[in-house]
């Protein structure tokens, strides 16, 4: 059996890739996918925690995270599509009207 700490390290790496991705990528869709990567890294932590503690709580929590992530996609894509239809661009750099 592998040491469960390895899963935490894997999750930390994925989470960091996601967080850096949100900060550096300019496309709203890609940035949003990076957020999803962060959520999935969390799922790994939850399942690993469930294994460490020998309970099912963490695994059940994973389902909640998945459902919430799906709901977030619905709302997020609605917003990104509507702004794309208006501007023909999903770049977050083009959305700059609110800077004063």
């Amino acid at each position: 059996m592998m040491n469960p700490e390895n899963y935490l390290i894997l999750a930390a790496i994925l989470f960091s890739i996601g967080a850096v991705g949100v900060l550096v990528r300019r496309n709203a869709l890609v940035a949003f996918m990076c957020v999803e990567l962060m959520l999935n890294a969390t799922n790994i932590v939850l399942v690993a925690g469930s294994h460490i503690h020998g309970g099912l709580d963490g695994q059940v929590a994973t389902f909640f995270v998945m459902v919430v992530a799906a709901a977030e996609v619905v709302v997020g894509l609605a917003i990104i599509v509507s702004i794309f239809k208006t501007r023909r661009s999903t770049s977050v750099d083009d959305a700059n009207l609110l800077k004063l």
Partner: protein, 521 residues
């Protein structure tokens, strides 16, 4: 081993009625959208919203009188004094905000929300739906879902409920931000920014939850408290989890350095929605922050107190210095709300929970502060919707010049709310500031109180600037005060009366907040 053993959850229907009513009315509202013809929807939705909130408030009061409390819904919601007080405040502010949602006269017979949010701005479809007098009455059920989510959020006693509630109230808010009737590009941009940053912060929030789970083996706040006290293993996990969870909560409160969404979103969102967000989101997030940090992470307070103290200082300083240079009233109020988040955080840092009888704890002083801040905020944003130019709302401060000569009532009431924000005596804001500073002082953070007092002194300057612009300058051309219906005036008048009442006779509300006491573990 029988894996498929299933025990039906036990729900305390009566105690949970305030939440269930609000959420059920939200579901019913969606159904009404599907079955009612266009011209009936507005009245039906509006009546449903107000009826459900009033009924929910009635249940809340009765339950509190009967002293119903405890951990409910299979250990996922804690109903205690602070939960009662904050739920009541949320419902009152929610009802007032929904009244501003219903305002139509000032906009020329339609609400402030887009005729068709899905149509491209400037397109034929948009013009057609505007001509047909369509309105997005979906904002009412969305608002109810947001309100219900906030109520669960501040009472959640396990971290999974906390996370789900966070999303339940955030997702409708993202959509409501995108629904302005005028200046739709700004509105959509605000929604995009709010959504991306909100999703980003909820990623951190969730990672914090997961790490706390790995540390303690439970999502339950009380169990985490026991684990922190017993300090089983992995201090690193605990501190990382605490910090990441804190990031998510501080983002919703709008504390520096997690504030960057606030001015853009407050400015781009439809003003009634901004008013709703400005107080209700802040109130729910502060409630949840208090619960998580005082109930679950109390044993770790030597770690988070200094960190939060630094964030409180940054929040006050950045909020106030940025507000000094703003030329847009909604942006100014956004930075002001950041500064107020800093003042609230001073009492959170103080964490004085055991106090002499009759004195206010940190939680009680923060609850009073939120009540005073909320009435002024609701009133101020309702007044912002009334100052107009031919194209729509006039948000530029230059357009507000000499407003007192055009409409002394509007200018005078705005001045009252500004004085309350600034913390001038005889307004609710003064007593609120006094209470939170006392709590911080008692907690041993006297230097933080001095910084906060200096900050609020500097902050008074930009609130006074708004008053000087309205009363001391020549009237600006092209700006006028729109004639609003009772739906705007009721929140404004209630806000003004409550601001004065909380300033002159604060005892009753202060006693209620003190009676609400501390959090149940």
């Amino acid at each position: 081993m029988t894996v498929l053993e299933f025990a039906a959850p036990v729900l305390e229907w009566r105690a949970l009625a305030p939440i269930l009513l609000v959420l059920a009315a939200g579901c019913l509202g969606i159904l009404l959208e599907a079955v009612l013809p266009h011209h009936l929807r507005f009245v039906a939705q509006m009546s449903l919203v107000l009826a459900s909130v009033v009924l929910s408030l009635a249940f809340l009061v009765i339950n509190w009188f009967r002293g119903i409390s405890g951990v409910l819904a299979m250990g996922s919601i804690t109903l205690d004094g602070p939960a009662y007080f904050l739920w009541g405040a949320l419902l009152v502010f929610g009802a007032l905000a929904f009244m501003v949602f219903s305002e139509r006269r000032v906009n020329g017979g339609v609400t402030a929300f887009a005729a068709s949010a899905a149509a491209v701005p400037g397109s034929v479809e948009e013009a057609e739906s505007a001509r047909a007098g369509r309105e997005h009455t979906e904002v009412f059920p969305l608002g109810l879902f947001a309100l219900g989510g906030m109520m669960v959020f501040l009472a959640a006693s396990d971290l999974i409920t906390l996370f789900v509630a966070l999303e339940v109230f955030s997702l409708p808010l993202y959509l409501m931000c995108a629904m302005a009737r005028r200046r739709r590009l700004l509105s959509q941009e605000a929604a995009l920014k709010y959504f991306l940053l909100g999703a980003f912060s909820s990623g951190f929030f969730l990672m914090g939850i997961a790490l706390l789970y790995v540390y303690s083996g439970s999502f339950d706040l009380a169990a985490i408290h026991d684990a922190v006290t017993a300090s089983v293993f992995g201090e690193g996990l605990l501190i990382a989890g605490l910090a990441l969870l804190g990031v998510g909560l501080l983002f919703k409160i709008g504390a520096v350095p997690f504030h960057s969404w606030t001015p853009d979103v407050y400015m781009g969102a439809p003003t009634p929605v901004t008013g709703f967000m400005a107080i209700c989101t802040k109130l729910a997030a502060v409630g949840a922050l208090l619960r998580v940090f005082y109930v679950a992470l109390d044993g770790e307070r030597w770690t988070w107190q200094p960190l939060l103290a630094i964030i409180a200082v940054l929040t006050m300083v950045v909020g106030i210095t940025a507000a000094l240079t703003q030329t847009d009233i909604k942006r100014l109020l956004a930075y002001s709300s950041i500064a107020h988040a800093g003042f609230i955080l001073t009492a959170v840092v103080g964490a004085s929970q055991i106090v002499p009888a009759g004195q206010a704890t940190s939680a009680a002083s923060i609850m009073f502060y939120l009540a005073a801040y909320g009435f002024a905020t609701i009133g101020a944003f309702a007044l912002v919707t009334m100052v107009r130019n031919p194209a729509g709302e006039e948000n530029g401060l230059a357009g507000w010049a000499g407003l007192a000569r055009k409409n002394p009532a509007v200018a005078g009431l705005m001045a009252l709310f500004m004085l309350s924000f600034a913390g001038i005596p005889l307004t609710g804001g003064f007593i609120g500031k006094w209470a939170v500073f006392t709590a911080a002082w008692r907690g041993g953070y006297w230097w933080l109180v001095i910084v906060a007092a200096l900050a609020s002194l500097v902050g008074a300057w930009f609130y006074l600037r708004v008053i000087v612009v309205m009363f001391g300058q020549e009237p600006a051309k092209g700006t006028f005060v729109g004639s609003a219906s009772a739906w705007t005036w009721i929140p404004v008048v209630i806000g003004a009366v409550a601001t004065l009442w909380l300033g002159m006779l604060p005892d009753s509300v202060m006693q209620l907040a003190t009676f609400a006491g501390t959090f149940l573990r």
